[in-house]
Symmetry: none
Subunit: 238 residues, 4 copies
Amino acid sequence: MGNPAADTEKEECELLESLRRGRPAAGQDPVKRAQIIEGARRVFIDKGFEAASMNDITREAGVSKGTIYVYFANKEELFEALIEEERGTIFKNMYDVLDHFDHLRETLVKFGMVLSAKITSAKVILAQRTVIGASERIPELGSRFYERGPKRGHDKVVIFLREAAERGLLEIEDVELAAYQFTELCLSGLFRQCIFAYRTKAPTQAEIEHVVRSGVTVFLKAYGTDKLAAEEQAAQST
Amino acid sequence: MGNPAADTEKEECELLESLRRGRPAAGQDPVKRAQIIEGARRVFIDKGFEAASMNDITREAGVSKGTIYVYFANKEELFEALIEEERGTIFKNMYDVLDHFDHLRETLVKFGMVLSAKITSAKVILAQRTVIGASERIPELGSRFYERGPKRGHDKVVIFLREAAERGLLEIEDVELAAYQFTELCLSGLFRQCIFAYRTKAPTQAEIEHVVRSGVTVFLKAYGTDKLAAEEQAAQST
Amino acid sequence: MGNPAADTEKEECELLESLRRGRPAAGQDPVKRAQIIEGARRVFIDKGFEAASMNDITREAGVSKGTIYVYFANKEELFEALIEEERGTIFKNMYDVLDHFDHLRETLVKFGMVLSAKITSAKVILAQRTVIGASERIPELGSRFYERGPKRGHDKVVIFLREAAERGLLEIEDVELAAYQFTELCLSGLFRQCIFAYRTKAPTQAEIEHVVRSGVTVFLKAYGTDKLAAEEQAAQST
Amino acid sequence: MGNPAADTEKEECELLESLRRGRPAAGQDPVKRAQIIEGARRVFIDKGFEAASMNDITREAGVSKGTIYVYFANKEELFEALIEEERGTIFKNMYDVLDHFDHLRETLVKFGMVLSAKITSAKVILAQRTVIGASERIPELGSRFYERGPKRGHDKVVIFLREAAERGLLEIEDVELAAYQFTELCLSGLFRQCIFAYRTKAPTQAEIEHVVRSGVTVFLKAYGTDKLAAEEQAAQST
DNA sequence: GATGAATGAGGGTTCATTCAT
DNA sequence: TATGAATGAACCCTCATTCAT
C-alpha cells in the first residue's frame, strides 16, 4: 500500500509480465518478491526477528499473508532472504576506493572512512544487531553474513596491502593479520559502542575522520617503509 | 549485584537467618535465587531474550513459575538480573594485571591476552550476543552492560597508558583513542568473527598470543619512545 | 448497536456483500458475530463476568479464540457488546402499550404486567444480576444499562402520566416520583426476591396480575381524580 | 453469627477453654476469626468476590494465609461467612422504630427513612451488589441473605401493619402485599438507580425524606381509614 | 494464483491452596 | 499452632500458519 506511484509502477510491470508470459509462476515474480523483502526489511530491522509479526510485514509489504508464504516457506526463511539482501546492499561499492591505487595514506584514510561510516551507520548497526541476535537461533545466518560481507572486504584489503608491499611502501610479515588490524584501527572505540547501544547515535563524520587518521598513522608507523616515508616527505615539500 | 562486598555480607546475613529461623523470607533465599538465575542463564543465553520462554526457565531452574515471579517481577527483570550477573563474572579480575606496572611490553601482552581470551571465550560471546540481540527491545540493557563492563576496563587502560606516558615510555596525543586502539588491536579479526558466529570455536591460546603480540608491537611502534626502545635493548642484552 | 434500524440495514448490506464476494471481511460477518455473542451470553449470564473464561466462551460459541479477538478487542468489550444486545432485546417493545392511550386503569394494568413479567423473567433476572455484579469492575456498564433501559422506560411513563393529568384523570404534584412509585408498585416484593435468588422461579402470570392490579389500585386511589372515578363508575354501569 | 446471645455464650465458652488449656483450639479463637472477617470485609466489599485476592485479605487482616485456611475452608466459605456478618450488621436495629407504635404516619415516615437510607447507603449497596453478583456462582448466598435480612424486616412490617389495622387505622385486604408496597414506595427510584450504579452517590437525607413522605402519603391514601383521617385532623387542629 | 479469516498452541502472568518449617 | 514460600493450573491474549474462497 502507501505509495501509489509504486503501485502504478507495479501494475504496469505486472501487465508487461502477463503480456509476455501470461503470468509468473507461483513464487516466481521478482517484483512481488522484492516488494515482500522491502516490507520485511522495514519491520525486521525495526523490531528484530521475534518482535516482528507476519501481520506487520503483510501490511508493510502490501501483499497478503498467503502470498508471502508462497514466496517464503516461513518467517525464518523470509528473514534469511532479507539478511542476504541487506548484506548485498551494505557492502556493495564499499571497497571501490581500493581499486584505484593512488597516494597510499590518503587511499587508506578514504577507504577507512567509508568503511567506518558504513559499519557504524544507524541502519547498518540495526541490521548487524538483528543478525547477531538471531545467530543464536539460526547459526548459519551470522556465519554466512560475515563470510559474504566483512570477510570479502577483508580479502580486498589483503590484496591492497600486498600490492603496497610489493611496491615497497609497506613491510608486513602477516598481511592477513595486518588487514584485520587496519580495519579494527579504523573502528577503534566505535563499533562496540554502537553495537551495544552505548552510543545511541552514529558517530559524526569529524569523529570518524579523527579516528581513521589516527588509525592510519599508527598503521603506517608500524608497517610503513623508509621508501614510504621518503615519498611522503617529498610530497609534503612540494 | 554490583557491590560484591555487600552481596557477601547479605549472603552471610541470609545464612544466619536461615540457621536461626529455618527459612528465608520470600524472594530472599540466595540459593533459590542463584538456582533461578542459573536456569535463566541456560535458557536466555541459548535462545536469546524473546525466544526464551518462562516455561523453559521454570523447567531448567527446577522451580515453579510462581516462585520465579516472587524473586523477579517479570521476564525482563529476570533477564536484566542475569545480565548484571554475567557482566560481573566476565569482567571480574580482568584488569588486575594492569595494577602492577612492571615490564611495559610484557604487561601489555599479558593483559591483552587475558582480555582477548575472555572476550572471545565461548560463553562470553554467547552472553554478548544475547545482550546485543536484546538491545533492540531494552535499549538501556546493552548501554549499561557496556558502561559497567568494557567502559570501566577502558578507563583502567587509559590510566595505565597515562602512567606509562608519565614514565616517558610512551608518547601519546589522544590517550583515550590510543586505549581503544590497543584493545581493538588485541582483538583484531577475532571479536567480529566470533560474534557473528563465523568462528564456531573460541580462538586457541596460541592464536590469541600471535594476535596480541603483533598488536602490541604495532602499538609500541606507533607510541613507544626512544627511552622505551633503549630499555628494551638493555633488557635484551642482559 | 443502538439504532436497530441501522443494524438491520447493516445486516442486509453484509448479506448482500457475502453473496457478492463470497466472504465477509474480518470481524464483519454478522452470523459469526451473533454466534460469538450467543456463546458469550450463555457463559457470562451463567457465571458472571469474572468467573467466565474466554476458553469457556470459545467452546460455547464454537469458534476459535483468535476469531473472538478479531470481533472484539478483549473480554470487557465482548461483555459490553453482549450487555448492549441484551438491553436492546429486553426493553424492545416493552412500552408499546403506553402509546395508545385508552382506558386508563386497564392501560396501566396491561403495561404493569408486561413490565413486571419482563423484569422478573428468568433470563432478564440473570442478565440484570450479571450487570450488577460487573458494575463493581466496570462502573459505566450498569450506569449505561440503566440509562438506556429502565430510565428510558421511566421517561415514557412520565409522559403517559402527564397526558393523563392533562386529561384531568390524575392529579399529581411530582410526576417523576409518581412514575417511579408506579413502577415499584408493579414490582412489589417481586424484583428484590428475584434478584437475590430468594425466588428461584419467575412469578406466575396470576401472581403478577394480583400484584399489578393491587398496585394500580393503590396508585389510582392516591392520584386519581373525581373525574376518573366518575368515568370508571359510568363504565362499570354499562 | 447472627445471634448475638449465642456469640456471647460461645465466647465465654472459649474463654473458659483458654483458661483451662492455655490456648484456643485451632480455628476457634473468636478474636482472630473477627480479625479475618474484618479484613475480608474491606477487600471483598471493595473489589467483589473474584477480584479480591486471598493475599489482599491476608494483608488487610494481618494474619497468615495458613491461619485463614484454618478458620475457613476456602475463599468461598470465607465470603459466605462475611456476608452473614454483613447481613447481621446491616439489618440490626433497622426495625426498632416499629416496636414503639405511636403516631402512625410519623412512625411510617421515620421507619421508611431509616430503611431507605440504610438500603441505599454506599456500603450497603456495595454489599448487595457483591451478594447479587456472587448469587450466580453461589446460589444459596443471595437466597439466605434475603431470607434472613429483608424478609425478616418485611415480617416485622406485616406485624406492624396488622396492628394498625386492628386499631382501625388501616384497612388492608392483603397485608403481605401491602407491606411490600410500602417498602417499595419508600425506595421509589432509589434502589434500582443505586444498585445499577446509575447513581454514583447515596441519595441525600432530603431526597430520602421527600420520597418517603410521598410514599407514605400514597400508602395512607390507599389504605388509611376514616378513623385515621379523623385522628390526623384532630392532631393537626391542636 | 492470491487472499485474509480462522485456527489453536503457546506466550507471560496471577493466585487459591498446600505443607514444610 | 501459625506461618508464608512454593506450587501449578488457569487466566487473557498473540500470532505463525493454513486453507476455503
